[in-house]
Symmetry: C2
Amino acid sequence: MSVKAKALYTFLSENNGEISIQENEELIIFDENSVDGWFQGENSRGERGIFPASYVEIIRSRSNSNVTDCSISPAGSLGKDFSTPNTSLHYPQNDYDDDDYDDWDDWDDRSTVVDDADHTRNPGANGHAPENPMTNNPNVHYRPKPASRQDSITSSRKGSMVGRNLNRFSSFVRSGVEAFVLGDVPMMAKIAETYSIDMGPLGPRWKENPKPFSCSIEDPTKQTKFKGIKTYISYRVTPSHTGRPVYRRYKHFDWLYNRLLHKFTVISVPHLPEKQATGRFEEDFIEKRKRRLILWMNHMTSHPVLSQYEGFEHFLMCADDKQWKLGKRRAEKDEMVGAHFMLTLQIPKEHQDLQDVEERVDNFKAFARKMDDSVMQLTHVASELVRKHLGGFRKEFQRLGNAFQSISHAFTLDPPYRSDGLNNAISHTGRTYENIGEMFAEQPKYDLFHMLDKLSLYQGLLANFPDIIHLQKGAFAKVKESQRMSDEGKMDQEEADGIRKRCRTVGFALQAEMSHFHQQREVDFKDMMQAYLREQIAFYQRVVQQLERTLRMYDCL
Amino acid sequence: MSVKAKALYTFLSENNGEISIQENEELIIFDENSVDGWFQGENSRGERGIFPASYVEIIRSRSNSNVTDCSISPAGSLGKDFSTPNTSLHYPQNDYDDDDYDDWDDWDDRSTVVDDADHTRNPGANGHAPENPMTNNPNVHYRPKPASRQDSITSSRKGSMVGRNLNRFSSFVRSGVEAFVLGDVPMMAKIAETYSIDMGPLGPRWKENPKPFSCSIEDPTKQTKFKGIKTYISYRVTPSHTGRPVYRRYKHFDWLYNRLLHKFTVISVPHLPEKQATGRFEEDFIEKRKRRLILWMNHMTSHPVLSQYEGFEHFLMCADDKQWKLGKRRAEKDEMVGAHFMLTLQIPKEHQDLQDVEERVDNFKAFARKMDDSVMQLTHVASELVRKHLGGFRKEFQRLGNAFQSISHAFTLDPPYRSDGLNNAISHTGRTYENIGEMFAEQPKYDLFHMLDKLSLYQGLLANFPDIIHLQKGAFAKVKESQRMSDEGKMDQEEADGIRKRCRTVGFALQAEMSHFHQQREVDFKDMMQAYLREQIAFYQRVVQQLERTLRMYDCL
């Protein structure tokens, strides 16, 4: 039975069979049971096709709603939050209708709406269809768990007088960075892993992985199990430092991805490519997902921290089923996640003025916001260009080709004046332009698709930064508060110094991550632009060659 | 005051400010006084702009009509016409609503609707806005004059028993070819001019002009008279055999064109390019008209008969005002026009079976009909392509350019990580694609416009052939009729032989004209295709060069 729905986010179709939907657009869904995370339906322009289930919300009449409402009253009325004049909670409801929900504009009073750190930080807003089974089932609405709240100031565990944030869903709180900064996380006796930050010429940076490696992803192969009832795609994953391939499914990637999100506070973990499309477009889709998994993997291996993660090593090397399960359980029991992960960071001794750090972060914020916009713009333009290549451009050249062929045919009709040479040349010109039309339609495979892949990776990376920057903002606010309290004699200077010290760690980590982002961005965008231009040149050269060959047919007439 | 109108013919806009109209489309005209042959108005798609006045018919309520109706009853009921089972007269009326008026389909029961041989044979149907002042004034409707009719058989002047056509507006009658074939035109004692037809390897052909020449048209210059109240464009016209320029206005070309139509029965005289557009698009228009006048002139000088015409010589050489008027009057008094022109033809002695001639003509007819379709198709495709070049293509590339620039701008926002080299390269890539967008928009000037010019010439040439072929059909019917009458003893064999002999002249002339058409077509289409391909190659090479230069900016990073 078809039901009405509303688009929560804008989704731009990139494959045949998908349709684009606009934020707030009314949709019709043909069957409310999604298939592999996709709905089939119709948008308001009457286009039919599939779109990610997690991008839409089914509209039910209020009386029908049987989802318990875990009401969380706006925190702003209960007490003053650490840094923002107005703190409001954003979370989806049945009648959620926030007109202009923008990650970057809501920056300072940001509250993430996910209920679990295992899930992507910004579901949907970055072009990512999260694989969360809850969101894929439209009957289960995506809302924060009713969490136990601590009222500020009065409830400090260690007796610290610095207030805890009212909004327990803010990334600052969820990530554990608040707890870390306030010293709620006890230093552990034995920390097996450490990640170092050193000072580079442009500021703090992650210390390189001493054993750098790369990793190929190849040969997506359809596998079946349960006598063919279930099918899945298996990828051959070969890390360069072992040279031994392992075979992984998307769900393994997804497991790894969720481990990363859970553990690596302050690090931007790019989302995985979409999971699966159905039906006859499968091949293109598998190809696209492979390309995007490769880019995701490149980001993983090039990241000094992520590439050294034990769970990642396990993912890359374990070829034994039993060992796999053991390693999986071990990774899931890892205690050094979230707040505790911060304990594993070793920062340089150099003094950095916190004010300077904040300025650095503000610059990065302005940059990242603009880059996010530009990447979105280029994505949009490139998607449109793909559509034009497949549609308008191909059609125009093919029409021209047809018209030439038609002229050539007319010229054969009066036999004494056939002039076969000329007719053949014109007919060949017709075929040439038909070919050129086909070349236009093929070309995105060689250039625009790769550009879109990389832009999608960057959309994912950039979408994480509002939350990450929020961590530093939160930590800095705690420093200011503790200093004030210390000045007023309400707090030991020693405790205030501890908060300041731990805030430095957050600042260093964030700067290291920003630095890594910039470094990768330079490499990636240089590569992307060069590759695009090279393919464009090759394309137009092929057009020239075709035309030159055709022109020569007229020379001998 | 705006009035309703209906499009009589399809018109495809080719210049800014023009709008396309579809045959039978309802239109609104803002002011029923046309300006230089153009109406301003709105089509049914809400587009506003100008279109040729002669392509539309103003819709008036019947009671308003104050135009006297010169009723001509269908001839079919009065007597049998020479060759067609159903003879119906087509002529425009206020409520003229012929759904599918096609020159080629109405071939055999063709009746031309012009009221004067001075005017184009097929107004409008060929993309030509006729310069007839009557059609430009929408208050004067375009209809046949009430002509005196002669009933068949009974009214023969010389006592010949072969019937004269009832339809006095058919090209066969109007052109004088009927009179010529039936021997109504007395041989004149002194014929100053002769045009010879000889037998070439592929059949009869015009004997070449013994003094071939070419003629340039350059430097359209705006001139004023009456103290600037009237402006006109003057062209420098320089024939190669004199090398002396003369200056001619469009009205001089138009005078020459009308002389040609008047005189040269059986020759396809291409129409002149449109006369004038108004306002800010004038420059493009003047340029286009110049290009098309050049093609028209090339056809004139390459035609063995037209190029030898005394009136043409006068047009090309006379530089003196007084002489001009004298020569003009002389040309207008030329008696060897229409039927008499046929007397100036000298045909070879070779016997040609009339049946074979008819078959040749039928082949040519099929060819010309298909070529007409193909030329129309290519014109349409090329016009669309121009639109795409100026619109879609330019826009897509410029958007891509903008998006790159925007990325480059974002990258400057976090100063320590500016990487100026990369940003400059990306920004330059943006400008390159903006340039490429402009190059696409400019390109039609170098290729498609020239193609459209030539196609327009050929549309004009082809549009004349139905009428010309009709001449031969009419003449052949007279031969058959006279032979039958001779067999039945109703006519002297001598008279029947005279009709057959004169019909041979018509057949030879038509075949010579067909042959000339084919010969020119081969040259023109070869040139057209080569020029198009050359410009296309140069264009894509320029694109490649731009991209290569841009790519090199990344190499040194």
